[in-house]
């Protein structure tokens, strides 16, 4: 069993793991930028990049489930949620067993009980509950790297100065490990600004064409992704810290009940207490302006990634004989306006007919 201190160690390790993944990605990006990347692979990395959307959507909204109206889907979903709920219930049980043993044997002191809980298991439960997926972050970075490798392979001559500038910002990485997730944002902002103020100037000259737009959008997309990742880490940190605080309250309350000579507390009672205290604690967090703002910023960050991804996608698909999203939007707008006009005319016609009849 791990202590609370171990929990924080684990948390930091998980941050390190993320940074390791990003560092690895970054190395590969730079290799690609310096001419070591694959060349002429066209759009083969594009499908991978698309998965970024899935990754962050899962992490933020946990909302990409198939919700068909056929009953079998409802049953399947319910079953899946029941199993998931039971899984969380059983994880809580694993936390509960050693705890209750210590409380009963009176080996627990007011300060020591916190160390008896298993925060790693607790974190796993919170991950499941809120849809956090640590792999999603590294996966997103990996996909971005793959795409960049492919892309920069064909435009490396434009990218070298940017790569040189970006190397400087790599020194910022260690600060992330020290618990400053905002440094991740800084890294990518620096990278983008470096690009924008050096090689980017060339691209600001009109009539360079779609390649310039692609590069800018691509870098903007990575910039957006970094903002999203940093926000997500901040958000998760807030949720874990709240969860840990709530769990301490639960344990404290259970220990008090047993020590005060109340009848043996069953696991069901402990579970109910756990749900009640957590709901109350999280509700207090959710009510704060800080949380509301954080949630709004996280959503906006994720939407920016998606928005720029779609723009980039359009640029790539522009020459293909298919209807693009923006073109469909125009079409929908036209159909909408025409329908509205026809409905208005039909209504007016009906009124005129009635007037004539009278």
């Amino acid at each position: 069993m791990e202590t609370t201190k171990d929990f924080f160690d684990t948390w930091i390790k998980s941050q390190e793991r993320i940074v390791d993944n990003l560092t690895e990605s970054r190395k590969k990006i730079q290799q690609a930028l310096w001419g070591l990347g694959s060349n002429g692979e066209g759009m083969s990395g594009f499908g991978d990049f698309q998965n970024i959307y899935s990754s962050w959507t899962n992490a933020v909204m946990n909302a990409l489930r198939d919700t068909g109206t056929v009953d079998i889907n409802v049953i399947r979903e319910t079953l899946s949620k029941t199993l998931s709920g039971s899984n969380a219930y059983l994880k809580l049980y694993e936390i509960w067993l050693p705890l209750v043993k210590a409380i009963r044997e009176k080996t627990v002191s007011p300060d020591a009980y916190k160390d008896l809980t298993d925060p790693v298991k607790h974190k796993e439960m919170l991950d499941r509950l809120f849809g956090f997926d640590p792999d999603a972050v590294s996966q997103a970075a990996s996909q971005a790297r793959k795409f960049l490798e492919t892309f920069t392979g064909s435009v490396q001559q434009f990218m070298k100065p940017w790569a040189a500038a970006s190397e400087k910002s790599s020194k910022t990485f260690p600060t992330l490990v020290e618990g400053h997730p905002e440094s991740l944002m800084k890294i990518f902002h620096d990278m983008f600004e470096a690009f924008d103020s050096t090689i980017g100037r060339i691209f600001h000259v009109p009539a360079i064409g779609k390649d310039r737009e692609k590069i800018e959008l691509l870098l903007r997309g990575i910039d957006d992704l970094s903002v999203y990742l940093a926000k997500n880490i901040e958000y998760q940190n807030m949720m874990y810290a709240t969860g840990l605080g709530a769990f301490e309250k639960v344990v404290e309350s259970a220990a008090e009940k047993i020590k005060s000579g109340e009848e043996s507390i069953t696991f069901d009672e402990f579970f109910d207490l756990w749900v009640k205290v957590n709901e109350k604690t999280y509700y207090a967090l959710f009510q704060t302006e800080d949380f509301s703002k954080m949630q709004g910023e996280l959503l906006e960050a994720s939407l920016n990634v998606r928005k720029h991804f779609f723009k980039l996608m359009e640029l790539y698909l522009y020459d293909f004989p298919i209807a693009l999203r923006s073109e469909m939007d125009d079409l929908y707008k036209t159909v909408y306006e025409m329908k509205k006009r026809v409905k208005g005319l039909e209504k007016r016609l009906g009124e005129v007919k009635r007037e004539v009849t009278i």
Binding site: A63, T67, V74, L129, E297, Y336, K340
Partner: protein, 356 residues
Amino acid sequence: MKNYLKELSEVNTKLIKGTETLVGIDEIDVGTAPKELVYKEDKLTLYHYTQEGKVTCNVPVLIVYALVNRQYMLDLQPDRSIVRNLLQHGLDLYIIDWGYPTKADMYLTLDDYIDGYLNNCVDVIREKTGNDKITLMGICQGGTFCGIYSALYPEKVKNLVTLVAPFDFSTNDGLLFSWAKNMNVNALVDTYRVIPGDFLNAGFLMLMPFTLNIGKYVDMLDVTQEKESLLNFLRMEKWIFDSPGQAGECLRQFIRDCYQGNKLVKGELKVGERLVDLKNITMPLLNIYASADHLVPPAATRPLNNLVGSTDKSLYEFKGGHIGVFVGSKSQKELAPAISKWLHERGNEEPVKKNP
């Protein structure tokens, strides 16, 4: 320790048996009260419920549900159906099914829903029944729509009944109200066009994450061996996750002007080219709110009575939560009869024919 292991073993047994019962169910029937289609426009459908008894209140009632989730919540199961209950009380009921918007509907505005679809449905019922005015019964966001409509077309509305409908959005009592204020709705709509139902559901689940994601499924294990109880649970699950997407432009205006700008209360809300003045609501009003509503708190619903021009206005407190208004036993025993009584007292002696 032996007892604890026994407890755990019982949960596992319930889980296995519950799984068996779950996979043995192949139909989750909802919205079973007989009805006929009377009007269709784009994705909207207007239904008329079949009155098997005698109509004792001759002002037809149009039920308007929210765009979020589906209207069959009012007829979730035969013994928990506010629709069946009101039919048994002799009311003549119509209901709007807004349908499932697709990207082709992304430009639909508040004006299209209220001054377009809703107005057309009202006209269809007026025409069909020969009544000059009808009763509007709006639920949740549908209640807000009905309030706006009644302010725009008071001449077509005989009575207005609102259930758990938000009007004053300045409150932060409900988490959704607080969260919506910091949401960049322009980014949301511009990115998605039609906002996925799952996105909204994720927000609803966050209101009580432990209860809604774990607690209720663990509790469900206690009823898995009773097929009827399990079916009731599944009907609710079906409803919760049967979430239509939201037409972007309409949602943009609803969040920006109502949740963020509170324009309805300030008299600044524009629907199409018209300003909505709630003082134009002069017909009898029955405003029903739920005392423990965590989705639409009383602070958002109650103020309506002070904003309208009606002299005949009633405020009804339902002791329970948002969903309990539709499916709770109190809803069936107390609320539905109270609505029926209120409407019968404000019915017509005979149908009021439209002016020639």
